[in-house]
Structure formats: structure tokens, C-alpha cells
């Protein structure tokens, strides 16, 4: 190139891009591992949809907890690579899998104790920080996305619980998702992906309500008068 200044300008740019691409490459490799962990956890937890899955729920939760151990290891590696203060420069790479892991962590906790997991607990399970100022953290919107994914899974779970004869579970799920839905209504969502995902929540809510309705109209709802009548 004839213009020396121009050559210098573009050489520095190439160096910049080159080092960025290297970092991205490393991130991608680790994210692949995390994705593998997430798939394993998902498979383990699918047991809840099986007939007679209820007995094995606690053991698969234990297994999931063990697998989260590996997830923590991998997030630790990831946080070592990502330069501080540049989380959002690269977070496209791990955003999706993090949302999925939030869902899996929330599902595990729901199966264990039946409550909604807080962002702090999920961050702990994943081995990341809660506040952006503290380092590699869990993005709030990713966590919320995970909760919405959880609702879809629970809608399916409600249906399958009935099939395997557990009439209590759908009621529990209905209350849980109802509260979650009420919670999401408190948020001022912008017209972004989270908003779109939230708009789909009503279909999950509806599905669960239909299951509950089917149970109550047939007197299968535990504790209701008609159930007692049939058992007598």
C-alpha cells in the first residue's frame, strides 16, 4: 500500500481482530463442553415424564446435582478467559446455554423442594457471580428466560403426571406457574426476546389449567368432595 499511515491503521486493526478471534475460539471450545453438560442434565431429568418416574425423581436430582459440579468447573474456566468488563462483548456464545442451565437448575430445585429458585441460588449452582461488578455473572434476563422454559416443561410434566396417576402434581404445578405468571406481570418488559418468550407463557398456563379442570370435573382432584364420595 502506498499510504504508510493507512497501512499502520489497518495493521493495528487486523491485530485487534485477530486477538479477538482467538479469544472467541477458546470461548467456543469451553461453551461446547458446557452444552454437553447441559444435555446430560436434561436427559437425566427427563425421567420425570416416564411412567413410574416419580420414584426415581430424587435419585435423578442427585445425579443432576453431580453434573452441575462439572458445569461449575467449566464456568470457572470460562470466567478466566473472558476479560473483566467485557462480559457482554462475548456473551452471545454462552447466553443460550446459560438460559438452558437456569431452566435445569430451576427444575431441579422445583423437584427437590417445590419452590421457585432465586437468581442467587442459580448463580451459586452454576458457580458464577450475581452482580456484574463482581466478575463473571449471571445475567438477569438469562435467568428469567430459564424460568419461562421451566414453565413449558412443567406444562408437559402436568400432563404426564396425570398419566402416571399422580393427581397431586398438577395442582402443585398450577399454583407454582400461576405465581410465576403473576411475577412476570410485574416486570416492564421491552419489546425484546424476553417479552416474546413471556407472551408464550399463557399457552403453558392454559395447558396446565386444562389439566386441572379435567381432574376436578371428574372428581379426581385430591381432597375434593367428589373424590371422597368415590372412595367411600
Amino acid at each position: 500500500m502506498s499510504n504508510i499511515i493507512m497501512t499502520e491503521i489497518f495493521t493495528s486493526f487486523q491485530d485487534y481482530l485477530h486477538s479477538e478471534q482467538n479469544v472467541r475460539e477458546e470461548i467456543r471450545n469451553i461453551v461446547k463442553e458446557i452444552e454437553k453438560n447441559a444435555r446430560e442434565i436434561l436427559t437425566v431429568l427427563q425421567i420425570i415424564h416416564q411412567e413410574n418416574g416419580a420414584q426415581q425423581t430424587s435419585s435423578s436430582c442427585l445425579k443432576a446435582r453431580q453434573l452441575f459440579e462439572e458445569v461449575r468447573e467449566n464456568y470457572k474456566k470460562l470466567s478466566a478467559i473472558v476479560p473483566s468488563g467485557q462480559y457482554y462483548r462475548f456473551n452471545d456464545h454462552w447466553r443460550y446455554v446459560t438460559q438452558r442451565l437456569c431452566f435445569l437448575a430451576a427444575l431441579t430445585v422445583f423437584l427437590e423442594v417445590g419452590i421457585l429458585v432465586s437468581i442467587n441460588t442459580v448463580a451459586e449452582i452454576l458457580g458464577v457471580k450475581v452482580q456484574a461488578s463482581e466478575g463473571f455473572h449471571l445475567d438477569l434476563e438469562d435467568y428469567l428466560m430459564g424460568l419461562l422454559q421451566l414453565c413449558s416443561e412443567l406444562a408437559r410434566f402436568a400432563v404426564n403426571s396425570v398419566t402416571s396417576g399422580d393427581y397431586n402434581r398438577p395442582l402443585e404445578i398450577s399454583k407454582f406457574v400461576g405465581e410465576l405468571n403473576a411475577g412476570f406481570r410485574l416486570l416492564n418488559l421491552k419489546n425484546d426476546s424476553l417479552r416474546k418468550r413471556f407472551d408464550a407463557l399463557k399457552y403453558d398456563v392454559k395447558k396446565i389449567e386444562e389439566v386441572v379442570y379435567d381432574l376436578s370435573i371428574r372428581g379426581l382432584k385430591p381432597g375434593s368432595a367428589s373424590t371422597e364420595a368415590t372412595t367411600e
Binding site: H18, I115, L116, L140, G178, A182, F184, R185, L186, V205
Partner: protein, 298 residues
Amino acid sequence: MSGNRGPHRKGHYSKHRNDKAKVGDKGREVLEQIDDNNPVIKMFKEYGAELDTKHDRHERIVKISRDITIESKRIIFLLHSAATDLEHKREQIFNEADLRLNQLIEKSFKGIALELEDHDPYLYLRAYTAGVQEFIEALLYYQFLRYGEIQPSQNLCEKFKYMIPILPKGNDNTEVMEISNREVVMVIPLTEFFLGMADFTGELMRRCINNLGSGNIDDCFRICNYVKDIYMGFLSINSSGYKEIGRKIYILKQSLLKMEYVCYNIQVRGSEIPKHMLATVINANNAEVNNEEDEGYY
């Protein structure tokens, strides 16, 4: 095809409406049962506050960025009028442009820098990328017109450091307190600089064609060669994975082709028609070749 789709969609819609009514009723019931002390509701109130803070900051930055865009476009327009032959008038325009560019750095960009302090700039990059690119376009155009060269981005980064005095708290002591400063840096990713630079070549093309109109033929060749250097630079970098850069390179190439065609015409027909007529001929030809939209300026 629409005939087939019509009834189907209609059916779907009415079903949907029934669903909605049902869900709405149930939803209200659930909402009434839940009181404010419910742990889930408490949790979500916190999340809501956090989201709002983030969205508000984003909006504030977008607002500043829009101001920067408008002012930068005005500066570019001002610089385009510096094509006069009057030496002192040109100097005056350059001084004004310089002043206004510095005002942007001192006021608007400082505002963004303060908003971004202790935050990840990349989270809000989308809020201010438009303003930054337009500003860089104006700045480079100014540098090019005045000095015939543009400065590397490192020099720019120096300007985006602000010293903010920390106000001493508490009671005044008798001793004179040292005024301490904290440094706030406006982070501009290098990619933004080059995106702005690609836009800058668009101004060069406009300049090149205007020059033709005013009969300043030598400048046409000079500008054309300069853009060739820039284009070569862009070709030398590996921009795979950066869609935005690829798009700009494409536009850059279109501008360059236009300019090369201008230079070609000057060479070929220069002796046939008077110089001031050339512009009309070439513009007419270019209109056929190129119908690419022009961004226009204020």
C-alpha cells in the same frame, strides 16, 4: 393461496379468542389470591427494579447518541460547504468544525462516559453505536479536509478520557484540600472506528463529485486514490464473522467504483468538453449505473 389460508386463519383466530377469555379469568383469580408478601412476588419486584434501571440507562444513552448523530451530520454538512476557494473563509469553517467536534467530546460523550462508568460498555453498545459512527465520520472528514490525512484511532482514545473531580465530603477542614480526580474513560471498540471510517468514504465520494462540479479536477484524483488505499486496507483484514463490516465494505466498493468512473471520464473526455460541463455528463451516467439510496444530510 390466500384463499386457502383465509378460512384456516380465521378458525385459528376464533379459537384463540376463546382461549384468551378463559385464561384471563383464571389469571385474575390467581392474581387476587396472591398477596404482596408472597416470596415469588417479592423476588420479582426486585427483578423488575433491576430491569427498569437497565432500560432507563439504555434510553438515556440512546437519547445522547441521537444528539451526537444530528450534530455530527450538521458538521459534515458544514464541511461540505468548505469547498470554497477563499482561504480565510475555509479556515473559518475549519475552526468552527473543530470547535463543534470538541464540544461533542466534552459534553455529549462525557455524558455517555458517565452513564457507563462501572458498567460494561458492551452491554449498552447498541445504544450509542450510531452516534459514535457518525461522529467518527465527521471527525475523519474534518481531518482529511484540513490536513489531507486521517489520524489513527489511538489518538482518538486519548481524547475520550475525562478527569472528574471528586467532591470532598464532610466538613471543611482548615487545610486546603487537594482536589482528587477520577478518570472516566469513554470506551469505543475499535470496530466502531472502522465502521465510521467506511461511512467517511461516502462523504469523500460526495466531495469528489462536487469537486468535479467546481472544476477542481486534481482533487478528484487525489480523493479517489485515497479511497483506493482505504478499500485496500479493508480488503487486507479478515472480517469474517463481522457482518456489519462486510456490509460497509460492499457500500465502500460501490462508492469507489463511482469515483473511478468519474476519474476515467475526466481522462477520456477532459479535452472534449469544458470542465464545468463534465459534472453534468458524469452525473447523468452515474444515475444510470447507480441507484443506491443516499442517506442524505440535515
